[in-house]
Symmetry: C2
Subunit: 421 residues, 2 copies
Amino acid sequence: MSAFRNLQLPSKSFALGRSFFNRTSVLARRNMSTEQKFVQAPHKLLVIPGPIEVTDEVLFANAHPSMSHMSLDFAAVFGDCIRMTRDILYSKDAQPFLIAGSGTLGWDQVSANLVEPGENALVLHTGYFADSFADCLQTYGAKVDQIKAEVGGVVNEADVESALKAKKYKVVTVTHVDTSTAVLSNIKAIAEIVKKVSPETLVVSDAVCAVASEEIQMDAWGIDVVITASQKGLGTPPGLSIVVASQKAIKVFESRSTPVTSYYASWKKWLPIMKSYESNTASYFATPPVNLIYAYHASLTQITTGSVSLQQRFALHQAASRRIKDAAEEIGFRSVPVSEEVRANGMTALYFPEGFVASDIVPRLLKKDVVVAGGLHGAIKEKYFRIGHMGVSVIDPQRGDVDKVINALKETLAEAKASKA
Amino acid sequence: MSAFRNLQLPSKSFALGRSFFNRTSVLARRNMSTEQKFVQAPHKLLVIPGPIEVTDEVLFANAHPSMSHMSLDFAAVFGDCIRMTRDILYSKDAQPFLIAGSGTLGWDQVSANLVEPGENALVLHTGYFADSFADCLQTYGAKVDQIKAEVGGVVNEADVESALKAKKYKVVTVTHVDTSTAVLSNIKAIAEIVKKVSPETLVVSDAVCAVASEEIQMDAWGIDVVITASQKGLGTPPGLSIVVASQKAIKVFESRSTPVTSYYASWKKWLPIMKSYESNTASYFATPPVNLIYAYHASLTQITTGSVSLQQRFALHQAASRRIKDAAEEIGFRSVPVSEEVRANGMTALYFPEGFVASDIVPRLLKKDVVVAGGLHGAIKEKYFRIGHMGVSVIDPQRGDVDKVINALKETLAEAKASKA
């Protein structure tokens, strides 16, 4: 893959300070390779659907000494990040945008750059995040239609086909994994329908909770925009908006007839910057989140060059997901997604068993140092909770994170039952 | 100050991991307080006008283990950051917005929330950043007039008064310190003129390169919006957009007659979130840059509770600035700002002496491990360079950063002269 050619290894850039070496020299002599390693502080296990647990190497990179965003050293690291982002999506030539911001900023990028005021957008609704994406599109002047799935389900593909035949849409948006319901949409099948019925329509995937935990073949499947962020499957602290646009999407952007309707999210500003950094030269529009780019680089390096291949990574997410869902259902929890094939592999949403509420379960898990997330989907908010299982927690079995989650769930429910007995 | 009441001290939250303690126990017994300290890697001295050198404590906080953005622990830290941000601006009740993004996002916030399409904005132009702010305002539909200063100068106050008398402006924008020229505008005097001539007009200060290096009395001087970012005087890695709005500005925002024209930058979305975090309760619109908030908290704690008071901090910036400017001018460099009173205290912009160009000076400084910035202002881009002197580099004399910069400048010019002899 292209990224491997020009790789800066963490071991080179992230060496600890000389003064530190001197002070630990006695110990360092005993075991040079491990004694100098930065080890993050002990903490509760974070298994919400993002931010997720990240490796010591990633956190250490986030503590990189200050660097000029205009330096050659930093430009090479940024360039690597662009190339490795593309690699993770199996894309040859799509254009990544790495911008300081949260995942939400990706919606603004799509709404302000690809949809002109008055144009139609079709939003496939599988939960909370579709409402928000629709709100964002409307803010920038799009006319939005939604196809809504039942809670825990995905939209009917025949409905998508009918909608596309009835009206011309500039974009169709799909939430690949809806973080509010843990529902997995079949983005490949939807992209196929769009290509068949309305090939000019751009397929936009909100993949914030899917990238690096679900397989995404951007080029092969014909996805035009993948929106994500640093803090989920990509295993990096939050603060980086990551959007990848196909060359078809870039052409649509370049042939706009009206001006872009955002300044900070404008690809007119960012496209030359990203091209410049990819050629390992710095260029300025707004200061990038330098330390976070180093952290992202460390994580991308682990993902793309580690001992676990991308395909193995997806398989490990599937296996962990199955273990957690099976264990939870065995003791009386029920998955929010309505069927096996619409269940995400990087997170789980579980209804509390009959007679139990959030305050019976979530605080008990917290006492066992397991941090999960509450409900988010308005219609069922109080009836369920969410567990994230992405990145190092499922890739590195020695951590025992999945076991810890399963055991904590079992103990918690037993205690909750006992307290009501 | 309000922030001190509810303070989480770094020593408590940022303790190193247990496994680390075990391994260093022999040394730890010798000197418990210093041996456990995280020390950043040796690196070139970064003296560009942002990002700046940051302390070990700030970098260590940036390597905080992953935390839920919805946790009580994190909410308290976020709440502290809001309160301490207000304290640094000597404001009693202004509203901070802390959002993942670069300083540029602050312009979008002003343009999308405070200026409705078709309304007038007056931009006082002292360099590169006024052009960009004007561009941003126009993107969101504002009608922009500019008053342009000569390169290195500030706008004529009488011209501001005339402009305000001739037309009704929703906002006047001032670049407090223009990072492209190191020109310091008299924001206090301009705010006075606005209050006198057009009291309804909001005074917006682009203070990205001024906050925490120049005194800003937000309430007393009547500034309505202060735009800044984490990576300059505030001594934190880049990636956090910081905007502080007066209650008057918030009222103007709340009485808009048209919808806000951005989604990610919308105060309608962020205001409830900021209020929630300030009451130490988490609330969700978009995932905050959690680690960077911990880093910002560490830096704000050092700034507001360290041994150096805020007033001393400003005095130290003035003293360092004078030393660097005097030393540079003594050997033949000339300041870009045209007079003593318009020189910023956190940075210096210097014309190369007659007969010398960037390639004579900047690479030689780099060889001495001193990283400066090239020119940015289009009209003089090749004729000058920029030095940043903010934060810990000027606050902690033991680092010797200012001496290092001055010595490197002297040696560099001597070498450059010798090479031409």
